[in-house]
């Protein structure tokens, strides 16, 4: 056993020596390979962590939301719909929600304006998310002027800032009283944005949704399970400019690596010929090349993965920010909870390390079964 290990060590020594002779080429390959794995692992880790974070955060979102659809668009729901729903078995609470969007031309940002009954806000009070506070430079006690539906300017006093820890869900939130909301947007007492239903038994949700569509044919119930499913497929692998761009570089690398690994140069052929001539066996030549593939691909995988891990979880995926930001002005600053999907990691390993290692062996086998004299010529 020790002899076998020692022999492998000599192979590694020899392989490293060969690689050091072509330092530029080997380091170039290692850095390109590492970069590709870094990008792939970053996308993989980021999308998985984002999905896990979203599903964990939104686990307490409303069980059923009822929207009203008119001509294929969501419209305000009449308050009398609450009476029309009546008493449905299993529904513990039903209420109307008031929320909407406000475009602030001063900073070219969209705020999500939401009525919060629990905050007991007076008509001129607002609570704002950390993103709005940062973008507008507001703090507690400052005033924010919004233009109403009639064009009148309304000044609201900031009474509280939402904690920056919850920025991922509250960065652009602007909490307001219901009177303030109705006055700002010109919505009378008889309308809500949508209705929220609480259901005690999760197994009854589907049945209640069916009853709702019968009672209110123009309504569209959105279930919590659908919200969570939306976030489970948030960043699909099929989607994304980023991945399409990345695919180009991956293909370029595959061609580069295949060319490097499978096409032996005249010098390499000569080297194999010499090794065979001095007594190396075919198996030994192949083992030497196998180690070359393993060293390059394993090192690239580990360095690339570790760099991606630090990038996603300890620098808030800074390289992806411009892509994710798009035209969002109120981009939240957030730290993702580290989470790794073992299956994805294994897939990345098998699709990066194995093909390269195998690609190095095949041409060597072809060269090493040929007569040394012929190979050296």
């Amino acid at each position: 056993m020790i002899t076998i290990l020692r022999k492998q060590r000599y192979f590694i020594d020899y392989t490293l020596g060969t690689m050091m002779r072509h330092k530029g080429k080997s380091l170039g390959l290692l850095s390109v390979y590492t970069m590709i794995i870094f990008m792939l692992a970053s996308v993989m880790l980021f999308s998985h962590a984002m999905r896990s974070e979203a599903v964990a955060l939104l686990a307490d979102s409303p069980e059923i939301i009822v929207q009203r659809i008119q001509a294929g668009r969501s419209v305000m729901v009449p308050a009398e719909y609450l009476q029309r729903i009546g008493k449905l078995r299993g529904v513990t609470e039903k209420r109307g929600r008031l929320w909407g969007y406000y475009y602030d031309p001063a900073v070219k940002a969209n705020y999500t304006v939401m009525v919060s009954e629990q905050d007991n806000l007076s008509i001129n009070d607002i609570v704002i998310g950390a993103g709005i506070a940062r973008t507008r430079g507001l703090s507690v006690g400052d005033y924010l002027t919004l233009r109403s539906h009639e064009g009148k300017a309304f000044s609201f006093r900031v009474v509280r800032l939402l904690e920056s820890e919850s920025e991922l869900i509250s960065s652009d939130l602007l909490l307001i009283s219901s009177v303030g909301y109705r006055r700002l947007f010109g919505i009378d007492e008889s309308y809500y944005t949508d209705l929220v239903l609480s259901v005690r038994n999760p197994r009854e949700i589907q049945k209640i949704a069916e009853k709702l569509t019968r009672l209110l044919p123009d309504s569209r119930p959105i279930l919590r399970a659908e919200i969570l499913r939306t976030y489970e497929s948030l960043f699909s692998w099929r989607q994304g400019v980023m991945l399409i761009l990345l695919l180009g570089s991956v293909l370029a690398f595959v061609i580069f690596a295949w060319d490097k690994a499978s096409g032996l140069s005249a010098e390499e052929r000569k080297e194999i010929g010499i090794l065979k001539a001095v007594g190396w066996e075919t198996g030994e030549v192949m083992r030497m090349k196998f180690w070359e593939g393993v060293i390059i691909s394993l090192m690239a995988f580990l360095i690339g993965y570790l760099a991606a891990y630090l990038h996603v979880f300890y620098t808030s995926a800074g390289l992806f920010e411009p892509v994710l930001k798009g035209w969002s002005v109120l981009y939240p600053s957030f730290q993702l909870t580290p989470s790794v999907d073992g299956l994805q990691l294994a897939t990345l390993f098998f699709f990066t390390v194995l093909p390269y290692t195998l690609a190095t062996i095949v041409p060597v086998w072809r060269a090493s079964i040929t007569d040394p004299d012929l190979v050296m010529r």
Binding site: D13, G129, Y309, W327
Partner: protein
Amino acid sequence: MKRSNTFFVCLLVLLTGFIASLVDVAIENGQVLPQAAESAELVSRLGLTDLALFTEARYTRHPSQADIHSAFQDHPVALEHFPTGSLLQPSNGSLP
């Protein structure tokens, strides 16, 4: 120092880093972070449904609340034009 020894030392350092990352995941998953508790309270109190990640358009700010036409609603034959639209999958209910 032999070349193979240098390689093994490098490999050991990298493997330690790799294992440390997995341990980090396990530790973080076992903890209830203050940010998670804070956000969960806000979600349940206000009935929030979406992440404030893409605030540029309403169908990207609230993908779970958007209807199937919202990305193409500006005018007839309008194409979806917000950059996030190419990153974000349409809501699950609106897919065929």
